[in-house]
């Protein structure tokens, strides 16, 4: 019977258990951060357990990190969480990249950047956007705190195998259209639960032509469509990205030979398939309070179809029939595990060069990691951004979620490159509009969204 790539990697990790039942899977890599790990370590301590494989575990700090003055953690609880992670990592022998460290950053940027994320692995982390790592041809998914504890203690996890969905993408993006628009359109058109119960494989010429960082953006957001995992077949682009990184295999030839075994036999292996034409795709913007409430830049906000839509309109203070251009923006955020990598900053910098953000706008540019921050500085992006009136910050999750000091004020509309537009996500009363880095950078300059396919970037 034909198998998907996901099936093959899965079967390669089953320690015990029958198909159709929860099976015990081996975990090749667990990533940790300060927010979802303390209780897991507490559980180990209470039961006199140790971390079974510290060598397959890596910790960093991201959610709570203040990005303005990274060493000055004013929030008492945030400081406590970071100190606790440090103490736990010391006690249990886990490698930690704390604030200030060269390898610190958003956990989903760090795995790929260090070469820890590799094809064929099973990767878990106490964070739903762990799906990002699937873009390398790995099985990667977010887990709860008890599961974090279980993986720390056993290096395994009980899981029931999801069904397989294939999304076949063909056609070339128009200029001004990006991977972010592709995943937002898929969710906008199919709903926030279309992927529930599935692992989603993206394939087809469009996907093959994407860079590794664009692939990460796509897999990052599958969780917003209900899927726990996204996966993309590893190819030369993947191998070239992994090669030479700190934790990459020394014997790359042997590794690649092995990784090439991971592919979907044929399309009959999928339980369901969606076809997507990328050639007619337009830039996407979310108008509501979940990522499914999103439309193309040249569409108008839809008539509410249920109470959720009505509530979303009331919260966002928007009117059906209006256009994304009509949103009066006060804030822009370029960053997060979706779009805070160097290629994202490069796109934003290209747009901001010699420009100035619109009067009254606050714009934060927050690299996903210290390495991205360094690279951005080396390329002079920091100067471009600050000259344009943006704030160039230290690496962390920042305004993606209101857990650190970076918040969007109540009643302010924010153009954001992040992944979630839930009520209050970026701060109580904040109104989030998700879009690509190019769309957000251009919106910051104009004070409102524009169709970047039509308007030249340097107006």
């Amino acid at each position: 019977m034909a198998q998907t790539m996901f099936d093959k990697i899965w079967n390669n990790h089953v320690i015990t258990g029958e198909p159709g039942e929860p099976q015990l899977l081996y975990v090749d890599l667990q990533l940790l951060h300060e927010v979802t790990s303390p209780q897991a370590f507490e559980g180990l301590r209470e039961n006199n357990r140790r971390v079974r494989r510290p060598d397959r575990t890596f910790a960093t700090m991201d959610h709570d990190v203040p990005t303005e003055d990274i060493f000055n953690v004013k929030d008492v609880i945030a400081r406590k969480q970071m100190e606790t992670l440090k103490a736990n990592c010391e006690e249990f022998g886990v490698h930690l990249a704390p604030i200030g460290d060269e390898n610190q950053g958003i956990v989903h940027a760090i795995g790929p950047q260090l070469g820890l994320t590799q094809p064929g692995k099973v990767i878990v982390c106490g964070d739903s956007h762990t799906s990002t790592h699937g873009s390398f041809g790995a099985i990667a998914f977010g887990i709860g705190t008890s599961e974090v504890e279980h993986v720390l203690a056993t290096q395994t996890i009980w899981q029931a195998k999801p069904k397989n969905m294939g999304i076949r993408v063909h056609g070339k993006f128009q200029p001004g259209v990006y991977a972010k628009d592709l995943i937002m359109a898929l969710i906008g058109q199919n709903g926030v639960d279309f992927g529930t119960g599935y692992a989603i494989e993206f394939f087809g010429e469009t996907i093959e032509n994407l860079s590794m960082e664009e692939r990460m953006t796509i897999c990052n957001m599958v969780i917003e469509g209900g899927a726990k995992s996204g996966i993309i077949r590893p190819d030369q682009t993947t191998f070239d990205y992994v090669r030479g990184r700190e934790y990459a295999p020394q014997d790359m030839d042997a590794a690649i030979a092995h990784w090439q075994d991971y592919y979907t036999d044929d399309e009959s292996a999928f339980d369901t398939i969606i076809d997507f034409d990328a050639s007619t795709l337009a830039p996407y913007v979310s108008w509501g309070t979940n990522p499914g409430m999103a439309i193309a830049i040249d569409e108008t906000f839809p008539e509410p179809k249920d109470i959720n839509d009505e509530k979303a309109y009331a919260y966002e203070k928007l009117t059906p029939g209006d256009k994304p251009e009509d949103i009066d923006l006060g804030f822009a955020f370029i960053g997060s595990c979706t779009n805070g990598r160097i290629s994202d900053l490069a796109i934003a910098a290209e747009i901001m060069k010699g420009q100035h953000i619109h009067e009254g706008m606050t714009t934060l540019v927050v690299p996903a990691s210290r390495a991205v921050w360094n690279e951005a500085k080396q390329r002079g992006y920091d100067k471009i951004f600050t000259d344009a009136g943006c704030e160039f910050r230290e690496p962390g999750c920042s305004t993606c979620l209101g857990m650190n000091p970076d918040r969007v004020p109540a009643g302010v509309h924010c153009a954001s490159t992040s992944n979630r537009n839930f009520e209050g996500r970026q701060g109580a009363g904040s109104m989030t509009h998700l879009a690509s880095p190019a769309m957000v950078a251009t919106a910051a300059i104009n004070g409102h969204f524009v169709d970047i396919r039509k308007t030249p970037v340097h107006a």
């Binding site: 927010v35 820890l116 203690a153």
Partner: protein, 199 residues
């Protein structure tokens, strides 16, 4: 984990449907580093007024509710965000058993992982149980899958795997570690192609 075979305790009823995890424990309390200490903030928005004074009418604030170990509630309990803190909050308040019309999958799993027994009973049965006074007790006989209140006996279903775990009080990690030989054998043949490791 503490085993549950037969449990007898006092019940409180919170007969609303779709109580989500944000109502069980609002997100401002998630920045804790322990599994305990959430109980005093459980159902925060219902328990306290805006000046953080307990609302005397709310059932969990009534002195007669003190010491209750069984929560009788509505359908679709624990929906919304996956935060495990919701299960910790309910456990930390002192509950050992929840009797609802149904649960969100994630919340149900979080209960099984934290020694909180989630029971499903139909509305009619829960309506009767909700009448129990603070002086009365309800008994849960897990082995026989029965909830007993006065002369009412309600049978409930539970997956044998979860039942066994509660009866023996073993946790998932113990269960997994019984496969340690297989895990080690599996590990021995994993290839890393000479990759450096973090530790």
């Amino acid at each position: 984990m503490e085993a549950i075979t037969v449990h007898t305790g006092k019940a409180v009823a919170l007969m609303r449907n779709d109580i989500d995890t944000d109502q069980i424990i609002p997100k401002q309390f998630l920045k804790n580093i322990l599994k305990t200490g959430f109980g005093i903030n459980a159902f925060f928005d219902w328990r306290y007024d805006k000046d953080h004074r307990p609302i005397p009418d709310f059932i969990l604030n009534k002195p007669s509710s003190k010491g209750a170990t069984i929560l009788v509630t509505g359908n679709n309990f624990g929906c919304g965000s996956s935060r495990e803190h919701a299960a910790w909050a309910i456990k930390d308040w002192g509950f050992k058993v929840i009797i609802a019309g149904g649960y969100s999958d994630i919340f149900y799993m979080n209960c099984t992982k934290n020694g909180l027994l989630p029971i499903v009973l139909p509305q009619a049965a829960r309506d009767v149980l909700a009448q129990a006074t603070p002086e009365e007790t309800i008994t849960i006989d897990l082995a026989h899958q029965k909830v007993i209140y006065q002369d009412h006996i309600y049978q409930f279903d539970i997956n044998p795997t979860w039942k066994d775990k509660f009866l023996k009080g073993i946790d998932d990690i113990d269960l997994t570690m019984s496969h340690i030989d297989e895990i080690e054998a599996f590990e021995a043949k994993r290839q890393t192609f000479g990759a450096k490791t973090p530790a």
